[in-house]
């Protein structure tokens, strides 16, 4: 090979790699690329059966898997002891104002803690179920809190987000998914 061409190879490789990393960063900001995320086994499957008791802060009692039908519902696992949950509280309140049906699952939390959390950061949830033992969390395969799922009107899980929901994802990816499964 021509020596000059050969000497250009490192530069060309760097440009290609750089372009790839740029694409990753862009898509990561849009929420369509998550190198860390383990894909949820639940996507495309029905919600595992559960029935959770109501929380004192819940507006309309607890809920079970059969309640997650009829319309697309966003399910959010949260806990008062979780700092990232405070981070996403504002975004969730925004979802509530936008009229998105949002159900919360208080994961391994104390009643008093949940109450204080909702009093301080607002209650975005139409319903709250208490998962005190964390068994429902295990069935859903959550990796931690917060974690957000979209369940379509037939009760099939369509989308998941791990960690505090950024405003861009709520307004972007989640909104698109909600429209797609409306």
């Amino acid at each position: 090979m021509n020596r000059r061409v050969l000497l250009l190879v490192p530069f060309a490789a760097t440009v290609v790699a750089g372009g790839g990393f740029l694409a990753m960063l862009k898509r990561e900001q849009e929420g369509t690329f998550d190198p860390r995320g383990v894909p949820s086994m639940l996507i495309g499957k029905r919600v595992p059966p559960f029935a959770l008791p109501a929380d004192a802060g819940s507006l309309a009692g607890g809920f079970s898997d059969t309640d997650l039908t009829g319309r697309p519902i966003v399910v959010n696992f949260f806990a008062s002891w979780c700092v990232p949950c405070m981070e996403e509280a504002e975004v969730l309140m925004g979802l509530k104002q936008a009229g998105v049906p949002l159900y919360g699952i208080a994961y391994k939390d104390k009643q008093a803690g949940t109450a204080a959390f909702l009093a301080k950061h607002g209650n975005p949830y139409a319903r709250i179920g208490r998962d005190d033992a964390g068994l429902t969390g295990i069935d859903w395969g959550i990796t931690g809190v917060p974690e957000t799922y979209l369940v379509d009107k037939t009760g099939v899980v369509r989308w998941r987000f791990v960690g505090p929901l950024p405003a861009e994802v709520a307004a972007g990816d989640l909104k698109r998914q909600l429209q797609a499964y409306a």
Partner: protein, 661 residues
């Protein structure tokens, strides 16, 4: 007031950085003697500005000034002083500032120690250092400013990640960063040489000590990180092929290759283009390693600062520095002509082999680290590349490295005879085969192979010295006289190679480790690898910013007490994080390692390990670094060679002529 002073000093550093990036390069190009001579002063000024900024941030941390956002997020009034100081660099903003400080330190060191460099080369080196660092200083000022105020200040800080509150990790980042950033100097020399269009033996001689110093620090940094993981993460593992670890291993591999190829440039004026590429590549990998981790693309247990929004800025900077220098390489490297020729079997040939193999290992590790990302991006496939891939791909490449490492140093320059070289190593080979063979009895084949390789490396390293002092062939007194006369760099090589042998032995020993997870009630005992482990009792303890649960374990062998260990489980209330504090009893030949797990049914879950030769892993790294340091003190690296003076005089007269013109 103090944070504002630091803020101002940082802004000043950016301004000086632009001056350092532009004026010396412009001056060297236009042959303006005034601008060329200004370079060292600018570089030292840069260091003073960043030193001030860094000192101000440290001060804010030490006095718990929670009105500074960075301190409020990472500090806590109860934190011990050492962690307040280390907390300065234990977070994203502070670590970027530390990075900038160290690269300016390199610039100042070149300015001060580079008095015997041709002034135009020195100006270009400093200019390139300035250009490569100013972007990151700008990043520190605009995107991740550590001096941003917070109002109203909170009562107390949010505290640093408890995992990072550890003396080993406290000193880890500065050492690792000096290693990473130190490669900026060979990089700057390489780019300066491309700009000058000239590389000679003197260039190789200037580059080597800088590379060596950076390499020593990087070796220590990696070893410290691995040691920290070993005792703090409490898994008993020491290397996880985690992206962050790989990111530090990559520049180490190419840096080791650079160290060896620079010898060929120095001695034989060959491999010039390759050495320049290695110098650029090593620093590029250092940069990527430091910053890709922080951009949020690579993530792992080790990373503690991610923000995709900052990522684009960093990626653009990386692209400018790496892409710019490689484009320059593509355009200018054809000018560099090699003059030395050599046969395939020769010292040079051995060093080329070393380079090929080390770079192949680097390529494999890089592929394994980045392939999952690209597979996800392009194919939408989720896959995880872990230990098994790296172990099975690196091993076949590492075996020839070990085999060649002992042979290379006994080969002669230009043309050598492999047969006679092997004859000189016969006893090392015999010893290695004996140990490997002995180990193969009753053991797995891989550890036996590794023990053999370790002995081969250590004995081979010794053989080189023995060969050079002609031990047993001339009277003992003559041999001693020869020993005294040997250059220190010879001992550097010996220690470097032997150190790797020690590390390999440690790794081989660790692969024979035994482990047990048992539920033990207080007063009861369990048996592991010939030791009796008795749980005496469990009690509560308290530290300055945590509550602890402590187990007391007595370890005895054949009834005789060997050690008492008190592993802890610590609960940090501020961040609601629990960490395990593993306790280790070592006698340098084996580690007894105990971790306290959860308690249930009135007993405690204990994880116990017996790790043979474990300390040798890090001991070996220490020996390697010591070899590098010894080599650094070699007279030849400090005292000018005739060639160097000639080059300097020529350059000086050229500069004078340029100034006149």
């Amino acid at each position: 007031m103090i944070p504002e002073l630091g803020h101002f000093a940082l802004a000043l550093a950016v301004a000086i950085g632009f001056a350092q990036g532009i004026f010396p390069l412009w001056g060297a190009w236009r042959r303006d003697a005034r601008l060329i001579q200004a370079a060292p002063a600018i570089a030292i000024g840069q260091f003073i500005a960043l030193g001030t900024a860094y000192a101000c941030l440290t001060w804010s941390n030490v006095v718990d000034d929670f009105s500074v956002l960075n301190v409020a997020e990472n500090g806590h009034s109860l934190k011990p002083l050492i962690y307040k100081i280390s907390g300065t660099w234990g977070n994203h903003e502070g670590s970027i500032l530390l990075w900038c400080l160290i690269i300016s330190l390199c610039g100042a060191a070149v300015a001060v120690a580079g008095g015997n460099l041709p002034s135009s080369l020195r100006a270009r080196v400093l200019g390139v250092l300035g250009l490569s660092s100013v972007g990151f200083q700008l990043f520190a000022l605009i995107e991740s400013n550590p001096f941003v105020r917070l109002w109203p200040p909170p009562m107390d800080g949010r505290d640093m990640n408890p995992l990072l509150q550890d003396p080993g990790l406290a000193i880890h980042p500065p050492i690792l960063y000096i290693g990473y950033v130190g490669f900026a100097v060979p990089f700057a020399f390489a780019v300066a040489a491309l700009l000058e269009g000239r590389i000679d033996a003197a260039w190789g001689r200037w580059v080597r000590p800088w590379t060596l110093a950076a390499w020593c620090f990087l070796t220590c940094g990696i070893a410290l990180g691995s040691w920290w993981a070993y005792y703090e993460l409490g898994w008993g593992g020491y290397w996880f092929w985690d992206p962050v670890e790989n990111a530090s291993l990559l520049p180490w591999l190419t840096g080791t290759a650079l160290l060896h190829s620079a010898i060929v440039v120095e001695k034989r004026e060959a491999l010039k283009t390759w050495t320049v590429l290695l110098a650029i590549g090593t620093f590029s990998l250092s940069l990527s390693g430091t910053f890709l981790v922080r951009s949020g693309i690579l993530n792992s247990v080790h990373s503690f600062a991610n923000d995709p929004a900052r990522g684009v800025f960093i990626l653009a900077l990386l692209g400018l520095v790496i892409g710019g220098s490689l484009l320059l390489f593509a355009l200018r490297a054809p000018v560099l002509a090699a003059s030395g020729v050599f046969a395939p079997i020769s010292r040079e040939g051995g060093l080329v082999l070393n380079n090929i193999l080390l770079c192949s290992i680097a390529a494999v590790v890089m592929t394994g680290t980045t392939y999952p990302l690209f597979a996800d991006l392009l194919l939408g496939e989720k896959l995880s590349v872990g230990g098994p891939f790296f172990n099975s791909t690196v091993l076949p490449l590492a075996v020839p490295v070990f085999a060649a490492m002992s042979v290379g140093p006994v080969l002669s320059w230009k043309r050598a005879d492999l047969g006679s070289a092997l004859i000189r190593l016969w006893w090392a080979l015999l010893l290695a085969l004996a140990v490997g063979g002995y180990a193969a009895i009753g053991m797995k084949i891989l550890p036996a192979l590794a023990f053999g390789a370790a002995v081969w490396l250590i004995a081979g390293a010794a053989a080189e010295v023995i060969e050079r002092v002609r031990l047993f062939r001339v009277p003992l007194g003559d041999s001693l006289a020869r020993l005294r006369g040997l250059p220190r760099s010879t001992f550097g090589t010996t220690l470097g190679h032997a150190g790797l042998g020690v590390t390999i032995a440690g790794i081989a020993g660790m692969s024979l480790a035994s482990e047990a997870i048992v539920l033990v009630k207080p007063g009861a005992a369990t048996h592991l690898a010939g030791y009796d482990w008795k749980l005496i009792e469990l009690h509560d303890g308290a530290g300055p910013n945590y509550d602890a649960r402590v187990a007391t374990i007595e370890i005895s062998r054949n009834g005789a007490l060997v050690a008492v260990l008190a592993p802890e489980r610590r609960q940090f209330p501020v961040q609601n994080i629990t960490t395990t504090e593993a306790k280790i009893a070592t006698n340098l030949v084996r580690d007894l390692y105990a971790v306290l797990g959860d308690e249930r049914d009135g007993g405690a879950v204990l994880r116990l390990h017996v790790n043979p030769l474990a300390p040798w892993i890090w001991l070996g790294a220490g020996v390697m670094a010591l070899g590098g340091l010894l080599s650094l003190t070699d007279r030849r690296l400090r005292v000018g060679a005739p060639l160097r003076r000639a080059g300097q005089a020529a350059a000086k007269s050229a500069a004078k002529m340029g100034a006149k013109a």
